[in-house]
């Protein structure tokens, strides 16, 4: 069905709230339809759930055909022996978790957008999430991907070539299917820890990281803690996990279990929308070593920029309001001086293009040229 201009507009933005222009929208139902759409289009932008925060799925210049992958939501090939499952790119993470629960398994990478984010989008952004301290990035849990190239041909790419597609934000081809590795589901509990100073945050985080049962350390600054009614001071959500029904009991379990635990985790998932709702809509995701945390935080606090994040792996989410947005380049320069990365999880997309180092740009351009010689996919993004 051809969409009218008013409806095409729905596909011209994502959670970054950047706006673009698309030529057309296609909703492929299977690999053959993806192949056809790609072969017949000069420019293609792949869209998963459109929860990206860097504008990666926003079409440019009215030339792009948007491929919305949502209809490709098949889950096949569950292998109980190997603990793997094959999924189409449009499968929503929570729907996959629902399917896997009956086998006592889960996909352990858990971005806060889990209720809507697609597996294709997660692989393309190499999504991280609150349990990164234990499970790392999405790509750590991908065995192979099947992709469609600019000519409409299908290829299977294993571990050695995965990095040409994972974290490449759709500039190298369309991920249509993937084989995912799975982990046993865990019993989880959590504790809310109040911390008085930034220096104490560093020492508490260092201490917690020595405990192998800790699966999440999430940070809230003073302002956010107060707004969320957690109380005065900084706060950490610390999650612990143990094998299901472990007779030895959990190793260093948190105080909150069951519904109380779930409510705390839900609260964590709602922090960005909450902060954005207060006008701090530009969310960034710098990644720094924990020993540089105080320096970056001091800079951000002096400018009244609210911060939360996956402090266990050094990813922070400073959120800027309209007036503060002009400070983003200054913060990025500081992050680089501190030896950090400008994006820890959301990707470069359009928003962070200007902050990619020259050497990284060269590498990315080479990958793009090699994998997408027709220069068809997500033109104008990342590099």
């Amino acid at each position: 069905m051809k969409l009218n201009k008013n409806l095409i507009k729905i596909y011209e933005s994502d959670a970054s709230r950047l706006k673009g222009n698309a030529k057309e929208v296609v909703h492929p139902r299977n690999v053959a339809e993806v192949r056809g759409a790609v072969a017949n289009s000069a420019r293609v932008v792949v869209r998963g759930a459109g929860t990206g925060l860097a504008g990666g799925a926003v079409p440019q210049n009215g030339m792009d055909v948007v491929l919305d992958m949502s209809k490709m939501d098949g889950i096949h090939g569950f292998d109980k022996e190997r603990n793997t499952v094959e999924v189409e790119a449009g499968v929503i993470l929570d729907e996959l978790q629902g399917y896997l629960a009956r086998f006592g398994l889960e996909f352990p990478v858990n971005p806060s957008s889990h209720a809507v984010a697609t597996i294709g989008g997660m692989i393309a952004t190499d999504a991280v999430g609150s349990r990164a301290i234990k499970y790392g990035k999405t790509s750590n849990w991908v065995k192979w991907v099947e992709i469609v190239d600019g000519y409409g041909e299908v290829h299977k790419k294993g571990i050695t070539e995965l990095s040409d597609y994972s974290g490449m934000e759709g500039i190298t081809g369309v991920i249509v299917r993937a084989c995912l590795k799975l982990a046993p589901r865990k019993d989880r509990s959590a504790t809310l820890v109040k911390v008085e100073s930034l220096e104490d945050v560093v020492s508490v985080v260092r201490e917690l990281k020595r405990n192998s049962a800790v699966s999440m350390i999430e940070f809230f600054d003073k302002g956010i803690s107060k707004e969320l009614e957690l109380g005065e001071g900084y706060h950490l959500i610390v999650e612990y996990e143990s094998p299901r029904d472990d007779p030895a009991g959990p190793d260093g379990a948190g105080a909150l279990t069951g519904k109380e635990y779930e409510d705390l985790i839900k609260l964590r998932d709602r922090v960005y929308p909450f902060v954005a709702g207060e006008g701090y809509t530009r969310i960034e995701d710098p990644k720094i070593m924990i020993d540089r945390f105080v320096k970056l935080m001091t800079w951000l606090e002096a400018r009244k920029i609210p911060v939360f994040g996956h402090v266990g792996v050094g990813i922070l989410h400073p959120c800027f309001n309209h007036d503060q947005e002009k400070l983003v380049p200054e913060m990025m320069a500081l992050v680089k001086r501190l030896g950090g990365q400008v994006s820890g999880e959301h990707g470069i997309g359009v928003l962070k293009k200007g902050f990619v180092e020259i050497n990284d740009q060269k590498i990315l351009r080479n990958v793009k040229k090699r994998t997408d010689p027709l220069n068809k996919f997500n033109v104008g993004k990342v590099v």
């Binding site: 969409l3 009218n4 008013n6 409806l7 507009k9 729905i10 596909y11 933005s13 994502d14 959670a15 970054s16 709230r17 929208v25 909703h27 869209r47 759930a49 459109g50 929860t51 919305d68 949502s70 209809k71 939501d73 449009g90 929503i92 929570d94 957008s113 209720a115 809507v116 709602r270 960005y272 929308p273 909450f274 954005a276 709702g277 809509t281």
Partner: protein, 135 residues
């Protein structure tokens, strides 16, 4: 049943309703969380029918029949972290469309059937036509 040309009063009322519906999305941050439980999105799997999609259309004060692709279940409102009243806005949008004579033909037929036959199917063999009945 072709709709009559809308009166001036209806046109004004429709414009006001669209204005109100559009304002509902002033604080929407486009996060997309509202589609997680949307039954229409779950079945059709197209962003255009998602609550966020309806929000984009309504923000632009556009009358499109996607506003009728909604069960009015409010699951989107339940999920929205910012309490955006998506469903309420969709309702206003629908009202405006009806006032402008752009309601769904099938809905108009159903109403007409209820008026004439006391049931939405236009079934004349109803025992007691005074009584309304549904499925």
């Amino acid at each position: 049943m072709p709709s009559d040309k809308p009166s001036k009063a209806d046109r004004i009322a429709a414009a006001n309703l669209m204005e109100e519906a559009s304002e509902v999305f002033d604080n929407c941050i486009s996060c997309g969380m509202c589609k997680s439980l949307c039954p229409v999105f779950k079945i059709l799997k197209e962003e255009r029918v998602s609550p966020r999609g309806k929000g984009i259309v309504l923000s632009d004060k556009v009358m499109d029949k996607i506003l009728f692709e909604c069960t009015m279940c409010k699951a989107c409102e339940e999920k929205c972290p910012l309490n955006i009243k998506v469903c309420e806005a969709v309702m206003k949008g629908r009202e405006a469309m009806v006032l402008k004579g752009r309601g769904l033909k099938s809905n108009e037929e159903m109403i007409e059937n209820v008026r004439k036959c006391g049931n939405p199917f236009g079934d004349k063999d109803v025992k007691d036509p005074e009584k309304l009945y549904c499925c």
